[in-house]
Every structure is written in structure tokens, then in C-alpha cells.
Amino acid sequence: MSASQAPANVAIRFRDKQIEMAHGAGGKASRRLIEGLIAPILCASASGPLTDAAYVNVGGGRIAVTADGFVVNPLRFPGGSIGELAVNGTVNDLAVSGAHAEVLLVTLVLEAGLETSVLEAEIRAMAQAAERAGVVIVGGDTKVVEHGKADKMYISTTGIGRSLPGVRVDASSIRAGDKILLSGPIGDHGITILLARGELELEADLRSDTRSVLPLVESMVAACGPGIRWMRDPTRGGVATSLNEVARDCGLGVVLQEDLIPLRDEVRGACELLGLDPLHIANEGQFIAIVSAESADQALAALRGCEGGEGAVVVGEISGQPAGTVLVSTEYGGSRVIDMLVGDPLPRIC
């Protein structure tokens, strides 16, 4: 997430005494840290909601800039690896901001003792992901820290993109009645990582969904650019956190229809067992789009016509009330409020 645009209307003071894992989990605590401490000092002059990328004017042209950091453990997991994630994640932040990634800068922080073969595999993974996404890696930096001072390797990226013509991602353009689209099944990445850590004796045939969503975004923009109000890739904190953010930013409500939310059985099973909500689980290759009601059919058709977009669905809509809230309603008429993720998702005992 880019912190270059701080909200002017909310004054949150960061009062936590120390940094904890929750501050990096992408939920409420992360937001409080950014809005309450980082943005007010570093980006005091900027205004507007937090977005995935910042738009800046350079020499008369409008470009999108984003930065991202990757600290995943384990480095390799079914369906991907940290290198692939770094490239796709950066490309996706730009894509959902309505921009086509052009160039990337990549910084590697390496722990002394890391095997060269492991590093080389990740560099190759980055090169391949960049080629697939059509983006050029033009430079970066490398640092090495003492053994034990980092966990094998961290990657930090900067991405620069040009804005896609005919689309403007802006939460304030959202209206009641707009439709909420999801590009495919959710939770694959987060659950894959949880299982790949090997702490749970659960096995499932599941792969991370890491991929560039740019082709999907581009085809949707081509089909109904002006009808697209807002997009986001729901990474840490999951769909629930992204939708809570947009509900707050646009001052309207979000209503999801539970039975329409696409979910693989493996993800559902793991979430049921561990007491996790799939709406809080991270994704690396899906995105949410809010589109005008009139454009919904067109947007959906465009997504479904793309390779990898066949599973796209409408999962809900924007409502006038209750403002700033995400509500999940069930087929049988029950409903619940779903908040942002608080802290890390922790499994329940019983």
C-alpha cells in the first residue's frame, strides 16, 4: 500500500507502545500505524484515502508509483515463491490503481549464509514473472545483514506505471447500487502459506494464486472503463479488510451475499477447521472491482472472457446504509457485520 496520500479527515493517534506482528498483518493495526504515525509525519501535505499507488505529475505526464515489501516464510510454496510474489504484487498494486506497470526497481536484503542456489532461484523467478507481466526490471539495490538478523531474504520493490486510458479509480465516485465483482476464488494464497509452514498437520491440494491481474484489469477497462469506480487486490487482511477500507472511504455500506463468494472446498475446509474467516485470508492473484450497476454485466463478461477470469462473479453491492460497514447476508435471511482483520488470524482451539 502506498502511504503517500494520507487522509486529512481522520486524526488517529498511534498510541501502541511497541511494534507487534499485528502492525504488519494488513488489518486495523497496520492502518493505525500508517495513518497515526507514518503518514502524518511523512506525507502531511497529501490528502485523500490511502490507495495502492500514488499518481504524480512528472514533466507534464501522469505516472503511477508504488512500493511493496515481501517477507514471506517459507520462500517457496506450492504455486509460487517470494520472487514471483514480489513482481506480481507490485504489478497488481499498479493494475488495481488503473495503471500498466512499466518498470520495477528491486532491492534485496539477504541474510549471510543464504545459499546461492536459493537466491538464484528467486532471481530467476523474478525474471520470469517480469517477462510474463510485460514489465522491465531496471535496477535495484542489494544489502547483506548478519546471519540471524533477517529471515533468509527480503525483497522490496518500487513500481512505476502509466495510467490506463479511460479509467479512474476513486472511492468517492462509488454510488449506492454499484456492484461488487470478485475475479475468482479467494483465500488460496493465505491458506497455502499457512499449510506450507508445516505447523499444521493438514494436507490439501492447494496452490497460491499469485499472478499478474493486469490482463484481467485491462480487458475490463477496455470493455467498460468509465463504469469502473474502484479496484483493489485484497492481499493481507483479505477481502473483508479491503471492503471495510472502501466502505469507510466512500461513506457507504457494502453488502455481500455469502453464498456467492467463490471459495475452493480446500480453503473452506481449512478455514472451518481452524476457525478462520476466508474473507480475512490473503490473496495474491485476485482483485475486487466496484462497477456501476449498468456496467456490471459487461465487466463480468470481459473478465470471464479472459484466461484465468472464468471464475469472476458478482458478490454483492453498495448500499446506502449502514454507512462505513460491511455486511454479509446469508441465503436464509441472517446477516453479520464483518470487520477488518484485527491482528494476525489466530486459529481457535475448539
Binding site: Q18, I19, E20, M21, A22, K28, A29, R32, K179, L181, E199, L200, V255, Q257, D259, L260, D265, R268, G269, E272, G275, A293, A296, D297, A299, L300, V314, G316, E317, S319, Q321, P322, T325, L327, V328, S329, T330, E331, Y332, G333, G334, S335, R336, V337, I338, D339, V342, G343, L346, P347, R348, I349, C350
Partner: protein, 376 residues
């Protein structure tokens, strides 16, 4: 998903809800306590309050193990964790529960070796892979989790494991229900009986509730249809003026319980003379203690624990909420000083805690659009 989807079938849920509306006497107000925190969680998660008639009030009971543990015991556990040779292993639920000087998670952030485990046997694995450390497993829970702790201790003894012990905080469900029924400010019509816990103890231990207290109790599963069916069964008993123990959760709960689990518990644990519960105070013979034969693996025997009684923050009304006297939102701190992010009391931490469930899933009934059309 088998054994799940069948119990979330919308048309069956609608039918059960209709039956409840048919059975509920509009002139009566029903106060039904769901004893187990897992039920509280399910009721909110599935939005069941929305489909129940107004005159059926569900009261959240004391069956959330994390919630009933008094702060002094958390402090005791964390005092053990302060020892630099100790790896302190606990379930995920415990990690955010506040002690006087912060939660286990905050202790971890300060550099203490605190680990999340998913089962007590994971703690044994930790002991094997860290032979120069002593692993303390923070055991909590009702009869649901006590057997797995018992088996772990039996295994530790059989292996002759020297660097492993258990800080035992297991409690038993029956004394808690008795304390609720003894409470003069509590008026209840019946109980939704705990499901998981009954897989171990069976249904017989509840018979006194029906016979002596004349309250119906239905042991219940955790899916929406389970809960609604149990309410139907309770309403039928109340309509007919009956008070029986019924088992709605037959697919999992045997009437006589799980003999092997009970045997393991009896081998390893004995009842403590008394134990403090948050909100309910000291209850005699309500908690489990590790027997002398297993003293070598009892953290309370191996470490000096402060054993100081710590009262909850004054303004917090966790006790009243735990007893069902107050609804979570009626607590003075609810949603202001006490939120899932900055919990003052444990009820705001555990996903089974009624405050957390209420806060996370609370329903703003008047504001909710009831129908939604999905055109695309």
C-alpha cells in the same frame, strides 16, 4: 463439505425458523442460555438472531475457556515465560489475552520465547527439537481439551521427557452451570447444552439440571440447523411443561460420553479443592490439577509462580456479562476502551467470547437492507 453443508441448507433453516415461530408463545418471553462459547460464535457468525422471534432471548453463558480464566493465572503463566530457559507454548486463542503487564503476544514482541501451538503434542515436538530449553504448555479449556492434555502428559512420562511441563488451567463445565443457576439474579427457561464438551462427558452429567432444577437442556451441535433444531426441542419441552436432557448432537455426542478420554483424564488429573473463575469467583471442585504421579511434568511444581490474585480493571463488567446478567453492549467499556484490538477483558479477545462475537458481528438491525437483488 460433508457434515457441514447439510446443516446449513437454507430451506431447512427456513423451515426450522418457521417451526420456532409457530412454537413460541407470543405472550411469553423466553430466556435461553447457550452455555458454550462456540455456540455464541456460531449464533453471531450465521446471523441467527435475525431469524429468531423477538421474544426468544439468547443469553451467552460461561463456556469460553479463555474468558473465564482470571488475570492472575495469565500473570502466573507469563511469570514462567519470563525465565530465559523457557519456551512458552499456548493456543492461538490465548495470545492476545491481557495480563497485568501485557498479553503473551506482547511478551513475545519483547523477546520472550512464546510460541503458538495447535495441539499439546506440538509442544512435545518443541521439547524434542529444543533439548536445551524447557517447554511449558499453557493448558486451558473444559473437558473438550483436557483429554488431549492428559494424553500428552501420559506420553511425556512414557518418554521420560525432562524438559517439558504443563501449566494446567483446565476447568470443568458442570460447576459453572451450577454457579449460574445458583445466581439469584439469573432467570432462565432452558439451556442449549455444550456440544464439544459433551463428546467427552456425555449427557448424563446434565440430568440434575432437568430433575432438580426443572430446566430443559438440549446438547447441541454448531451449525445453524443444529442450533435452530435445539431451540425447537427446547420450545416443545417448555410448551409441554417438561424438563428433560435431550441430545440433538447425536452424530457426535454419545450419551455415555467418551470412556477412553474420561479414563485418561482420571489417570492424570484430580479436582482442585477450589479455583477462581473470572466473574463467577471461587468455585469449589471446578478445576483440574495434575496428580502427584505426574508432578515432574507439572509447571506449578517445577517453577515458582506468584499466585497473586488480580482483580479485573474496575470499570470492566466481564463478570456480569459472563453470567449473562448484562449483554456485552451494556458494559460501560464495550466498544470504547474495550475493543478486539485493545481488549480490557478476555471476553473481547477470544472469538468465542461474547463481547468479541457481539462486537465483530453485531447487527444494526434497523439499518439493514433486508433484500438485495443481484442482477449481474
Amino acid at each position: 463439505m460433508k457434515f457441514v453443508d447439510e446443516f446449513r441448507e437454507p430451506h431447512l433453516i427456513t423451515k426450522a425458523a418457521e417451526e420456532i415461530r409457530r412454537l413460541a408463545d407470543p405472550k411469553r418471553h423466553y430466556r435461553i442460555m447457550e452455555v458454550c462459547g462456540g455456540h455464541t460464535h456460531a449464533i453471531y457468525r450465521f446471523g441467527l438472531k435475525d431469524i429468531l422471534p423477538e421474544n426468544i432471548e439468547l443469553i451467552h453463558g460461561p463456556g469460553c475457556p479463555v474468558c473465564v480464566l482470571p488475570m492472575g493465572r495469565i500473570d502466573d503463566g507469563l511469570a514462567i515465560a519470563d525465565d530465559s530457559t523457557v519456551i512458552f507454548a499456548a493456543f492461538g486463542d490465548m495470545m492476545r489475552v491481557p495480563g497485568t503487564h501485557g498479553s503473551p503476544l506482547e511478551h513475545k514482541a519483547r523477546g520472550k520465547d512464546v510460541r503458538i501451538v495447535y495441539s499439546p503434542t506440538d509442544a512435545i515436538k518443541l521439547a524434542h527439537s529444543n533439548p536445551d530449553k524447557h517447554v511449558v504448555f499453557f493448558a486451558i479449556g473444559f473437558e473438550t481439551t483436557a483429554p488431549s492434555t492428559a494424553l500428552t502428559l501420559i506420553r511425556a512420562k512414557a518418554l521420560g521427557l525432562k524438559n517439558f511441563s504443563v501449566f494446567c488451567n483446565h476447568v470443568t463445565i458442570i460447576p459453572a452451570i451450577r454457579a449460574i443457576l445458583d445466581s439469584p439474579d439469573m432467570r432462565l427457561d432452558g439451556f442449549i447444552g455444550p456440544g464439544h464438551c459433551s463428546t467427552v462427558i456425555g449427557c448424563r452429567p446434565y440430568e440434575w439440571i432437568a430433575q432438580d432444577e426443572h430446566k430443559p437442556i438440549v446438547v447441541c451441535g454448531f451449525e445453524p440447523l443444529d442450533l435452530l433444531q435445539s431451540i425447537v426441542m427446547l420450545l416443545r419441552q417448555l410448551r409441554d411443561g417438561e424438563a428433560k436432557v435431550e441430545n440433538q448432537y447425536k452424530r457426535v455426542v454419545p450419551w455415555e460420553g467418551n470412556r477412553a478420554a474420561l479414563k485418561a483424564m482420571a489417570q492424570v488429573f484430580k479436582l482442585r479443592p477450589y479455583f477462581e473463575w473470572r466473574g463467577l469467583g471461587f468455585i469449589s471442585q471446578s478445576a483440574l490439577q495434575i496428580r502427584e504421579e505426574f508432578a515432574e511434568w507439572d509447571s506449578e511444581q517445577r517453577f515458582t509462580v506468584p499466585g497473586v490474585r488480580v482483580t479485573d480493571p474496575k470499570a470492566a463488567q466481564c463478570g456480569e456479562v459472563l453470567k449473562g446478567v448484562l449483554r456485552p453492549s451494556q458494559c460501560k467499556l464495550f466498544g470504547n476502551e474495550c475493543t478486539p484490538e485493545h481488549p480490557v477483558g478476555a471476553l473481547m479477545v477470544s472469538s468465542e467470547g461474547s463481547c468479541a462475537a457481539y462486537f465483530n458481528y453485531q447487527h444494526r438491525k434497523t439499518l439493514v437492507p433486508l433484500t438485495m437483488s443481484i442482477s449481474a
